[in-house]
Symmetry: C2
Subunit: 340 residues, 2 copies
Amino acid sequence: MLNRFSRPTFLAALLALALTGLVQLQAMAAPADPLPSWNDGHAKQSILDFVAAVTKEDGPDYVKPAERIATIDNDGTLWVEQPVYTQFAFAIDRVKATANQHPEWKTQEPFKSILSGDMKAVAAMGEKGMVEIVAATHSGMSTADFNKEVKEWLAVAKHPRFKVLYTDRVYQPMIELLDYLRANGFKTFIVSGGGVEFMRAFADKTYGIPPEQVIGSSGVTQYQMWDASPVLIKMPKVLFVDDGPGKPEGIDHFIGRRPIFAFGNSDGDKEMLEWTAACEHLCFMGLVHHTDAVREYAYDRNSSVGKLDKALDEATAKGWTVVDMKNDWKTIFPSVKAAQ
Amino acid sequence: MLNRFSRPTFLAALLALALTGLVQLQAMAAPADPLPSWNDGHAKQSILDFVAAVTKEDGPDYVKPAERIATIDNDGTLWVEQPVYTQFAFAIDRVKATANQHPEWKTQEPFKSILSGDMKAVAAMGEKGMVEIVAATHSGMSTADFNKEVKEWLAVAKHPRFKVLYTDRVYQPMIELLDYLRANGFKTFIVSGGGVEFMRAFADKTYGIPPEQVIGSSGVTQYQMWDASPVLIKMPKVLFVDDGPGKPEGIDHFIGRRPIFAFGNSDGDKEMLEWTAACEHLCFMGLVHHTDAVREYAYDRNSSVGKLDKALDEATAKGWTVVDMKNDWKTIFPSVKAAQ
């Protein structure tokens, strides 16, 4: 064997090794920016400082990887929630798609208004109408069939303003943040008021968050045998509402640990942020403030979707990080591939 | 630099490399037994064969690591459940420890019988009495205080027959199985009828299963502010019963994926095993059959704790793996350190 190592080959190999070392040294000297879609400023710096502090092994704020739990809201924090929650757009489309199986809907509200295209009337019915629409379209089928319906819809439905798939209207800076957290040993969870099964249909592919790390509102399911095969049937009965105080309750129920990092964008996230702020370690609380009417939407205290009022006051008073979307985000959306 | 590589040094280095290779080859030829507490036989072989099949990358039964979900019952599957469920022993002790705060218990059943030491009368009250005892001792405090109580109790309470800590009465062969599954890319979950918060107090240290991978029965919690600090208060109201059909419902609710590996020991695990058996991949269903009255306990069809009847028939009919504790397990319990 030794004979085959000629002296020049050996020298060349050493040279190659030395060059690789140099390249690595250079990479260490100027690390790539982990958050390239964030403009330099307080918000970005507060994230970088927090992650550096909790991952510094001999530092006073070090947190073991197993305890690096990050909980992040979905609607308005990871993807667009205007003009209506995506899941509600799905429910409206399901009403239209299945109307022929429900002749009674022609005369029964809120379905009648949906079918006649009177969305103003639907909106006027408020939460009560919305709950009825979601209950009617999210129950009576197996969990497997529902998952299939959501996936098929997400593959073709377009956002009314941007004319792209809903999963293309995720926030690029937040995708980078999720990657950055995971690269630093964090376990990333979605904690959202949205339906858990709806989110699980795309969270893995879109955010890199597996189903077992998605926490959301849910209905009761019932185990049944159909033709000697077990199925889980979605019942028209609420099991758990993961919003407001339901967020810390859901975090405790599903995760059983307190997060050290939480991000939201509305008053529905207030209690999750308070719960996180009471952690024993250094902890991070963040809010996305929608301030960019040109590139996305501008809304806060008076919005019917994603209202941000009390949580904004609390964040200001307590020094939590508030992202000013217009100024803090260089890019808002990922570039959409032509093939899509 | 090159001058420092004398020819003998270079040869010695090559020799060292070659020897290392030999040692590695030898290790490959006789790998350590991953399940040393299991006797050779059908049960052990069925586990080894299953894990080999789903991890063989170019094989027909290969399953990606992210989908290698294993769900395992706790009471009677991972640790002793006789003569009563450990959590019930905890509840009884809590009644005694807090009786001075509840003078009404002196005349009120089932508390009166507990305080007078008449456990036969308590047993005669059946499930109704048990639910009342658990509700009274598992609510009215914060989740943090409850967790502390459980940990303190587990640190001192002894099993009535074996006179060791309850966490020392785990099954060594199952601990090895959990390690073996994780070493092969599985994510191990507990799916138990026991209380989720009770189990989370010891599952991480005892089984290597973190809180977010423990699924169990649970009560409603309520977010409250105490002296400007958020707390979650345990309410005397059941949220979810993770037993029987509740097991596949809980698996779907918490994990959102179907397991490919499930292990239980009683009729309460029947639906979890059926749900697993309906998987799209090769899947594994196992039952621990308690057949060793000398080293542990022998019970099945007529036991009030951990009754195994219908699930045993189904396992036999469908060829699921049934572990005969007496014959399949070389060792039952881990050796308890003298210091404990």
